[in-house]
Amino acid sequence: MMELEDLKNIWKDKIDEDINAKHIAQAQISTLLNQRSTSIIDKLRKNLLWEIVGFCLCLFIVICIPFFFPTITIVFLCVTIVAVVFLPYLVYYVKKYRELQQFSSYHQDLKTNLTQLILQMEKYLKIYFWGSLLLTPLTVFLSGFIILYEIKALGFLLYFDTFHPSILSTLLSLALLITLISYPTMKWYIRKMYGRHLEKLKKCLQEIEEIQEVD
């Protein structure tokens, strides 16, 4: 059995030989600078951008509704939804997006980097989860309402009063039911997408912290 010091020498001899064969030219390094990053932060940033696009589309639909149904109730409802739900969340989303764009902790030591990355990921996943969950009932309710209205406009289901409280409460119940179903689905999806990576990061940080508990 060789000693570790001997292995260290073998490592150095062999690795240098191996690495010299992999040496890439300066021009190739310059080319790599123009490639796209596949880092976890970059992926989170891209996902958040899609969330913002989705949010803007919903916002657009909500803003358009009063033009088709110009009643005081509808206008009031839409303005409230925009002011209370959409605008604050959109501002928060854009703020988070900028934060992710500027986030860079890789130049710091491993422990600091892991701590900051875990914090950022947890924040982002919370926003992503609650944002998507918030959009679900709104999307279901509005889609259901528009579909019923269009069906009626085409001459079908003429006995239907789209604005009748029973219809609205059925739509609302359906929206809440789908939201309830989407809760575990969203949890599963987020865990599948980022959960394992987040657990890995936490495990690494825990290992470093355990080293410090030796004293």
Partner: protein, 159 residues
């Protein structure tokens, strides 16, 4: 600035290849990680003021990227297999067998242990390892002693 950066990377690219070899088990993964490390170094380069050595800065970014920066894809071929095939025709059989065992054992270490061991194999002083990991030199010494014990056991079981 780009020229200066490319020169620095060119002079020290061995660091990046070593990190990729330790953390990735196949060629595709190594290439992806190498590219990502270069991009992260480039992103951090404007804020690099030279407070630490260039190599320390490079190790920090390379190890951070390898450990936390990218999500690993499913492994199809093991690095050990590739490595064994590469060395099969090489004349210095004994050394290579030992090195193959070393690689096989390193693969079983945790990501944090791999980073400390790599810096140890590269003859970095405990102070510099501490600066890269974010713990004290004393803690590095304690951890290194544990890694050595673990590695000894792994090497024994591999032989």
């Amino acid at each position: 600035m780009e020229q200066k950066f490319v020169q620095i990377i060119n002079q020290n690219q061995g660091i990046l290849h070593k990190v990729c070899r330790i953390y990735c088990t196949n060629t595709t993964e190594r290439e992806d990680l190498f590219q990502e490390i270069i991009l992260q170094l480039w992103k951090s380069f404007p804020s690099f003021r030279g407070e630490s050595k260039v190599t320390t800065w490079m190790y920090r970014i390379a190890l951070n990227t390898a450990i936390s920066g990218i999500r690993k894809k499913k492994i199809t071929t093991t690095g050990l297999e590739l490595f064994t095939y590469q060395i099969a025709d090489h004349p210095q059989q004994n050394n290579e067998e030992e090195l193959t065992r070393l690689y096989k054992s390193i693969e079983q270490l945790s990501d944090v242990e791999k980073s400390i061991l790599l810096l140890y194999l590269e003859d970095k002083p405990y102070d510099e390892i501490a600066e890269i990991i974010g713990i004290t030199a004393n803690h590095v010494a304690v951890k290194m002693s544990r890694i050595k014990d673990k590695l000894r056991t792994l090497l024994q079981s591999a032989s």
